[in-house]
């Protein structure tokens, strides 16, 4: 329904500004165009606006000015229903997970499938498979609030990728896991990327950035700069 041509950017920002209330602009005059199937890191100091930029991409925060297009549709003109349909094609890993604490790990991961009306039988199959993959399979029915931080993170990632989204946005997903697991999670994102998912990962983790040679979207002084893996070393400020 919202198919874009391969040559058309999947996300496009033009002269976009973000501000909260009547405060100053967190980001100003942002121009950004992400091609379908691309993979980017998103870097910048704490408070630079990484979360703000991502929340605009998952269609929660509205740009306070400028144009945001997603799947070839100008978001300013989209109605509530189509926003919901767009969001179903975007997977999000939040910095603070934002899981439903009072339901099970299984129900959290099943959520994106349920809101889009998939049958329970199919949901059970898919969710159990993925939970096994992220090694949560022995505590699938445990209430989420009883899980450890690392387990919650894996549940959050499983929820983001369960319906093979067109876009995956991850806000510091490797924040509090050790490097082995961080690398394993990166491999999952790369797998998805190979299947065609456009990926943006906000991170502070220099090891990851150096190990996986993807371009960086760097936020600094309310502005944005794209730095490719080759020209990185001297210019990095994570």
């Amino acid at each position: 329904m919202f198919e874009t041509k391969d040559t058309e950017p999947i996300i496009e920002l033009e002269k976009v500004g973000i501000r909260y209330g009547r405060g100053p602009e967190v980001l100003s005059n942002i121009d950004l165009s992400l091609q379908r199937g691309s993979f980017h890191f998103l870097t910048g100091k704490s408070g630079a606006g990484k979360t703000s930029l991502l929340s605009m991409m998952y269609l929660w925060q509205k740009p306070s000015r400028g144009r945001l297009s997603i799947f070839g549709n100008n978001v300013n003109f989209a109605n509530r229903n189509s926003l919901s349909l767009f969001r179903r094609r975007i997977g999000v890993v939040f910095q603070d997970f934002r899981l439903l604490e009072h339901v099970s790990a299984f129900d959290n991961v099943a959520l994106p499938l349920r809101v889009s009306g998939m049958s329970e039988k199919e949901i059970r199959k898919r969710v159990n498979e993925l939970l096994k993959w992220v090694e949560i399979d022995r505590s699938t029915s445990a209430i989420t609030s009883t899980l450890s931080g690392g387990e919650k993170q894996r549940v959050a990632i499983a929820r983001a990728v369960i319906n093979r989204p067109d876009i995956l946005l991850a806000d510091e997903p490797t924040g509090n896991v050790d490097n082995d697991i961080a690398t394993k999670l990166m491999k999952l994102f790369i797998e998805l990327n190979k299947l065609g998912t456009t990926v943006v990962i906000a991170t502070h983790n220099e090891n990851l950035i150096n190990e996986f040679k993807y371009p960086c979207i760097c936020l600094k002084n309310h502005n944005l700069k794209i730095v490719s893996a080759g020209e990185r070393k001297n210019d990095m400020e994570i």
């Binding site: 998952y58 929660w60 509530r80 229903n81 919901s84 349909l85 767009f86 969001r87 179903r88 094609r89 999000v92 934002r98 439903l100 009072h102 339901v103 129900d107 099943a110 959520l111 994106p112 349920r114 809101v115 889009s116 009306g117 929820r159």
Partner: protein
């Protein structure tokens, strides 16, 4: 679409722990109780009205009593004149099917059982009677008719019992309108309470709703969870309300039955009326569900 509860089998919103649930349950119980008792009253009045209407529909009798005049001849002429005018008036009524003034022979045969054969009724002051058959379904304004008759035939009088019954019918109909207004009021107040508690709950669960939205849930997905929860509260509250109302209705009926005169006797509730009262919990469940559903849709569109 509201009926599709399949997709909301999973309650992501922890609505069963809302503290307003108890309030709503009690509120709905009281409302359904009031509704049931009032509805029983309306239905009873209705069945009374049907009986009374049946007894005054179809026909009426106009009587013209003799003037007390010393001159019998003159009195007789006067009464016949009035009879003619009354007949003309009645025949002009669109509701009248057939107007028959009883002739002397008929009048005599009506009176004979009381007076015996050997009384010459021409010697007595005889009232004249006019029998009016009405078209089916015709409703007569008795008061107006009585006034009109009085202008053309001052000695004419309408059947008294029917006139009195007509006043009673008007009173009962007024009472019925009042009771219907009370029913609407009860529905309105209950819906209002559901509206406000639902809005409060939406604010309370803002975080969860935000996550659902970001996952691509439409407002209807969230509205269905509220509808399901509130339908349940409406059902439980409704059952409690009806269970309290039934013995009260019996008590009132018993007390009313002790009134002399048999008027209330015609106010018996039919099987259909009882079915309506007993199925009130379904109705309250439906109203509660619809209210919650549309409150959520309305509020979310404005909230985020």
């Amino acid at each position: 679409m509201i009926w599709k509860f399949k997709s909301s089998r999973h309650q992501e919103l922890p609505l069963s722990k809302d503290s307003s649930n108890l309030f709503l349950k009690i509120m709905i119980s009281i409302s359904v109780f009031l509704f049931a008792v009032t509805l029983a009253g309306v239905l009873a009045i209705n069945s009374m009205l049907v009986n009374w209407n049946a007894s005054i529909l179809g026909s009426l009798t106009v009587q013209i009593v003799p003037v007390s005049n010393a001159d019998r001849q003159k009195a007789q002429e006067e009464i016949l004149k009035q009879e003619q005018r009354a007949v003309a008036l009645l025949e002009a009524m669109p509701e009248a099917k057939k107007v028959t003034p009883l002739n002397d022979g008929q009048l005599q045969s009506l009176l004979r059982p009381w007076l015996g054969d050997d009384v010459d009724i021409n010697e007595l002051p005889m009232p004249r009677l006019i029998d009016v058959k009405l078209k089916s379904g015709a409703e007569i304004n008795f008061k107006q008719l009585a006034e009109k008759l009085a202008t053309v035939a001052p000695q004419a009088s309408l059947d008294n019992h029917k006139l009195w019954l007509n006043k009673l019918i008007n009173f009962a109909a007024g009472l019925k309108v009042l009771a219907l207004a009370v029913l609407l009021l009860v529905i309105g107040v209950t819906s209002g309470a559901i509206f406000y508690t639902t809005q409060t709950s939406l604010g309370l669960h803002k975080d969860v709703i935000e996550i659902l939205h970001i996952m691509g849930a439409k407002d209807t997905y969230i509205a269905q969870q509220y509808a399901g929860r509130t339908a349940w509260l409406g059902l439980i509250g409704g059952i409690i309300g009806v269970l309290i109302a039934i013995p009260i209705i019996f008590l009132i009926a018993h007390l009313a039955g002790q009134i002399e005169g048999g008027i209330i006797d015609e106010a018996r509730l039919s099987i259909g009326s009882w079915v309506a009262i007993v199925s009130l919990p379904l109705f309250s469940s439906l109203v509660a569900m619809q209210t919650a559903y549309y409150t959520v849709k309305h509020t979310l569109e404005r909230m985020m």
